[in-house]
């Protein structure tokens, strides 16, 4: 039984720990593509290192259950360290942590957590007398089930630490009773005890981590961790460590609402996407003829907030003029037909590929179809009142260029935040206009009034902002070329110092033609030492590196493609991922039949990957049926699992190479994680990324073909 349970638990705990680590990183740092790239990349890198270096540790089979228990125990140490990591960096609560801090924190946490899983793969293959395929199959099955259970059951119902504890204790029980070697009850019980402690200390640890600000509520939802801090009568809402809104804070609410609504004060239908808890709903309902549709993706947040507001503020959510929809912003437009007079986007800034969907040309075109002819849309982005740096100017220009590709009239309100107004009908933003409208419609405001905004709307500031933004030229942000989030990330990084910006901006300057070929060089750099040290017998392992790189990039790309076409739906993302893992399982299962262990089979598999990529490239811009992304992921997974098993066959003749194939696969995935979403997607765009993958896989096919012809071998044994 242990020969089934141990590999299964390896896959299960490797993936579940990774998911919780990513969520915790999201809270402690800032959830953007670069941070995700660091965490995912280092997880894969250290897992790869563990697998490659395992022979040097002189591990024996009897160490397997102990190492599994240690892997389950390590989060007890790492997650609290991560929760308080800002104190290690000397940063108090509320202060942003930059790229450097996140880089080294990800490197350290993943080293401790992921390296043992790499060792465990090697040890499991040893345990199963070299039956790598079986280990891989069971590991893939474990990972698939981990993805489903964690995403669909644990995250919606428990916090990360609680989930780790429950899963960990369950795993310890399974290990203990299936352990064929000497059982250590005391050790197992001690680890279980620590896990219980971890779950009990979660809420207290959160309170300590937010000191000196009193944390009064915390809630984990599938969309993130919500925390509420209260000082005097003011509550501040945090989502994944980021301050989202404070109540009362009329400045923010008024800014979001009135610059837009004063353009169309007799608007009958207004749509607000996000930002409802800052007080924006109340401000919109000051316009007597307006009915409001409010889109908020997370159904948990409004009840959470309402319970803390005074009764007179709670009642605004019961207004008969308000309708709340719990949907993704884009999905709302695909499911509804209404036409609105004003659409206000109060969503977070485009820090990720997922958020970038709400800033693309296609999204604005979609919005425009739901806008009346004189309708106005508005969105708000970070800026600076007195001087806009080059990184900021590029970001603002990109927002402007994207809006301008859809709407004929754009105006920008200057300030520490910029409000972009877009319409096909004339807009006005001079002071006299706002004064006359406020007066005529008797809208009572505290901040959006002449005594306060006159300086903000001075002709000098208006003119200078326009000139600054027009001083650069960027291409519009689009779904398939999501450059917008890279511009934002480069601007975000600039606040931490010169070096961090330089690294990101360095990639701006690399021509696309070089970037497309970059994976080829990097894969060759990884493969070369392997071929040199192990000779020509190792050439069938080349597809492993390419596979790792390709499958990770393709998986993330298809997930993003799904969200572009169908919106962000948390449960479906989990199912998509599980589809990929089941595909891995299926492909590896078929691959264990020895009659297929031929070079020609490997060539066919590699050609299959190329064919799927070509079909993906063709279908990318088209409207598709919802089952298509599932199919793609299943096929990628299947071919990937099949290639993995076949390519490992020559390697597992020697026990010292048990972990080599797995290590190479993860090394390739590491490159994919670091390069893919943070760099390739925004800088090359999705189609060119697929072309880059095609070139890489075609080169791999060529090498395989030439190697087969050279060696005249038919079998991989």
């Amino acid at each position: 039984m242990s020969q089934i349970i141990f590999p299964f638990l390896l896959g299960f705990f490797s993936l579940s720990t990774q998911i919780f680590l990513l969520r915790e990183f999201q809270v402690q740092f800032y959830g953007n593509e670069v941070i995700y790239g660091f965490v995912l990349g280092f997880w894969l890198l250290w897992g790869s290192s563990g697998s490659l270096l395992a022979p040097k540790f002189r591990l024996e089979k009897r160490h397997l259950p102990l190492l599994l228990e240690i892997a389950i125990f390590l989060p007890v140490f790492v997650f609290p360290c991560l929760r308080f990591v800002r104190f290690f960096w000397g940063k108090p609560f509320g202060e942003s942590l930059g790229l450097q801090a996140s880089f080294f924190s990800a490197l350290g946490c993943c080293l401790v957590l992921s390296f043992p899983f790499g060792l465990l793969f090697y040890l499991n293959v040893h345990f199963l007398q070299g039956n790598l395929t079986r280990v891989y199959l069971l590991e893939a099955l474990g990972a698939a089930l981990a993805g489903l259970t964690v995403d669909l059951f644990f995250i919606p119902n428990f916090s990360c630490w609680q989930s780790l504890a429950i899963l960990g204790i369950s795993g310890l029980i399974l290990i203990f009773f299936s352990n064929p070697f000497k059982r250590k009850l005391l050790l197992t019980a001690a680890i279980a005890g620590f896990l219980v402690l971890l779950s009990l200390l979660d809420s207290q640890a959160q309170k300590v981590a937010t000191r000196p600000f009193p944390l009064i509520k915390s809630h984990d939802s599938p969309y993130g961790r919500w925390q509420i801090v209260k000082i005097e009568d003011q509550i501040t809402l945090y989502q994944d460590g980021l301050a989202v809104a404070s109540v009362p804070d009329p400045a923010e609410a008024e800014e979001i609402v009135h610059f837009a609504l004063l353009q169309r004060p007799e608007a009958e239908k207004v749509l607000l996407i996000g930002g409802g808890f800052s007080g924006a709903i109340e401000e919109i309902l000051k316009y007597p003829s307006t009915t409001l549709d409010y889109v908020e993706i997370d159904p948990d947040i409004i009840p959470l907030l309402k319970s803390l507001l005074p009764p007179e503020k709670q009642s605004i959510f019961e207004s008969p003029r308000l309708t709340i929809h719990h949907l993704d912003g884009r999905t709302f437009f695909t499911k509804r037909d209404e036409i609105f007079d004003v659409i206000i986007l109060a969503v977070p800034e485009p820090a990720t590929a997922q958020l970038n969907r709400l800033y693309s040309r296609e999204f604005y075109s979609l919005i425009k179809r739901h806008l009346s002819p004189q309708g106005v849309i508005s969105l708000r982005v970070s800026s600076a009142e007195n001087y806009q740096s080059p990184a900021l100017v590029r970001y603002l220009n990109n927002v402007y260029a994207t809006l301008n590709s859809v709407f004929s009239r754009i105006e920008i309100i200057p300030g520490d935040t910029n409000i972009f107004l877009a319409s096909d009908y004339p807009l006005q933003i001079d002071l006299d206009f706002f004064v006359s409208r406020l007066d005529k419609y008797q809208i009572k405001t505290r901040f959006i009034r002449p005594q306060v905004i006159s300086a903000r709307l001075s002709p000098m500031r208006l003119e200078r902002l326009k000139t600054r933004i027009a001083s650069v030229s960027t291409r519009p942000n689009s779904d398939l070329h999501p450059r917008g989030y890279f511009y934002y990330l480069a601007y975000w990084a600039s606040q931490f110092g010169l070096n961090e910006t330089r690294i990101l901006e360095f990639f701006f300057r690399i021509p696309a033609s070089i970037l497309i070929l970059l994976p080829l060089f990097l894969v060759a750099a990884i493969a070369a030492p392997v071929f040199i040290s192990r000779g020509k017998t190792s050439w069938p392992s080349l597809p492993l590196i390419v596979l790792g790189f390709t499958s990770l990039m393709a998986e993330v790309l298809v997930l993003l493609w799904f969200q572009l076409r169908f919106g962000y739906i948390y449960e479906k993302i989990a199912l998509l991922f599980a589809c990929f893992m089941f595909g891995l399982f299926a492909g590896a299962f078929i691959g264990q039949k020895s009659s297929l262990a031929r070079i020609s089979t490997l060539l066919v598999d590699q050609a299959g990957i190329i064919l799927i990529l070509i079909v993906l490239l063709i279908l990318l811009p088209l409207q598709i049926s919802s089952f298509v992304p599932y199919l793609f992921l299943f096929l990628f997974g299947s071919l990937g699992g099949h290639i993995f098993v076949l390519s490992n066959l020559p390697l597992i003749r020697e026990s010292r190479s048990y972990g080599l194939g797995y290590g190479l696969d993860l090394a390739g995935s590491f490159l994919g994680a670091i390069l893919g979403p943070p760099l390739f997607f925004p800088l090359l765009g999705l189609p060119a990324t697929i072309i880059s993958l095609l070139i890489l896989n075609a080169s791999c096919l060529l090498v395989l073909f030439l190697g087969r012809a050279y060696r005249h071998e038919r079998s991989l044994f």
């Binding site: 000196p212 006159s454 360095f506």
Partner: protein, 373 residues
């Protein structure tokens, strides 16, 4: 694991950890802003042997070798001569209401021609103008505005005063002095908005050249200054005292950051110090913090906190205490400390009624300190 393998692995790890830093520091910046730097000799420094210098402008007393720059990043030692790189090189110019600086007892209701160069000699984590203060001058697009042009530009924009603001004017000291002297000839006033990190000797020269100084007092705690400002409190307090002793018009702004510098005991100590060293007539502004720069994830200051501090300051005897960044709050306006009447009505940056006559309360004739015309 063998020792050799361990050393190999550690070496690889070290190299890979150091690579990003090495790579980053070797890259030229993307923004090929044509550097627009000045080369005007600085006024406050000492020459030392071996082409070294010691800057004496601010309490950092930067000791610099050849080709090194001061902490502020805008002054450089070149062969034993210290130069300011931002003389006449402005990167931010605006026309702002004087109440925005804020100056409440100085030419109310007028406009201030506001300007700044790059650079700063501290590192406030909550800086509103970090994009020009926390960078090198090569990283900003600056244009030439010689001192004489500053005065003419202010006149063209109907501004009776010039404000040296946004970043830290101490770092463009020479430019500020020369602009002040040039604009005085045209009858314009000169205002300085500073964090107060300046040594006594240059401060004396500054006081002779300008007409009003507003000091941003970040906290009344050395620990806060060290942690959040990378500066020191003591020199700022010395500067405040000197400004007052020289009878220069002085206002103080205290940006209230929740839980970091809003402790009641600290505020009381501050108020008592002000009463003792400066007197009860110095205007003190408690300004509401909005999340900014590296402290973007802090909550804004609750208004009750500001009101509490306002009450404390009044209790301790300060006569002119204001709440800033809360438009419409009654504590934006000036009330006569003797008869309690509203004498200057303010909403946001706009001034309404002014009930002063020759600098005195129109109701009870009490003198109200300030520069009113």
């Amino acid at each position: 694991m063998k020792r050799r393998d361990f050393l190999k692995a550690t070496g690889c790890l070290g190299l890979s950890l150091g690579c990003p830093e090495l790579l980053a520091s070797s890259l030229p910046p993307l923004d090929l802003i044509r550097p627009n730097l000045s080369r005007v000799e600085a006024r406050y420094y000492e020459k030392l042997p071996d082409r070294e210098i010691k800057c004496t402008l601010c309490p950092r007393y930067c000791h610099l070798g050849d080709k090194e720059r001061g902490y502020c990043g805008v002054r450089e030692n070149d062969g034993g001569t210290y130069y300011t790189l931002v003389y006449g090189k402005v990167c931010a110019v605006n026309v702002d209401p004087i109440e925005k600086k804020p100056f409440f007892h100085f030419l109310p209701g007028t406009l201030a021609f506001s300007l700044a160069t790059a650079g700063c000699n501290v590192n406030c984590r909550f800086c509103q103008n970090w994009q020009i203060s926390q960078v090198r001058p090569e990283q900003v697009e600056a244009y030439d505005l010689p001192p004489e042009e500053v005065a003419l530009a202010a006149r063209r924009n109907n501004c009776p005063s010039i404000a040296y603001t946004y970043t830290e004017p101490v770092v463009f000291f020479e430019y500020m002095i020369d602009s002040s002297l040039a604009s005085r000839k045209l009858g314009l006033k000169n205002l300085v908005v500073t964090g107060g990190h300046i040594n006594p000797e240059p401060l004396e020269e500054l006081i002779r050249a300008v007409d009003a100084i507003k000091v941003d007092l970040k906290s009344f705690s050395e620990a806060f200054y060290k942690e959040y400002v990378r500066g020191e409190l003591k020199p700022v307090l010395e500067a405040i005292k000197l400004i007052h002793q020289r009878k220069m018009w002085l206002e103080i702004v205290y940006l209230v950051i929740p839980t970091l510098n809003d402790q009641e005991s600290m505020i009381r100590q501050l108020c008592r110090w002000l009463i003792k060293e400066i007197g009860p007539d110095v205007p003190l502004h408690f300004s509401r913090f909005h999340p900014m720069y590296l402290l973007k994830n802090l909550p804004p200051t609750p208004i009750p906190t500001l009101e509490k501090l306002h009450s404390i300051a009044r209790e301790e005897g300060l006569r002119y205490v204001y709440i800033g960044n809360v438009p419409g709050h009654k504590a934006e306006s000036t009330y006569c400390p003797f008869c309690g009447q509203l004498i200057i009505e303010r909403v946001g940056y706009q001034v309404g009624r002014i009930e002063l006559k020759n600098g005195r309360c129109r109701f009870c004739n009490a003198p109200i300190p300030g520069i009113w015309s």
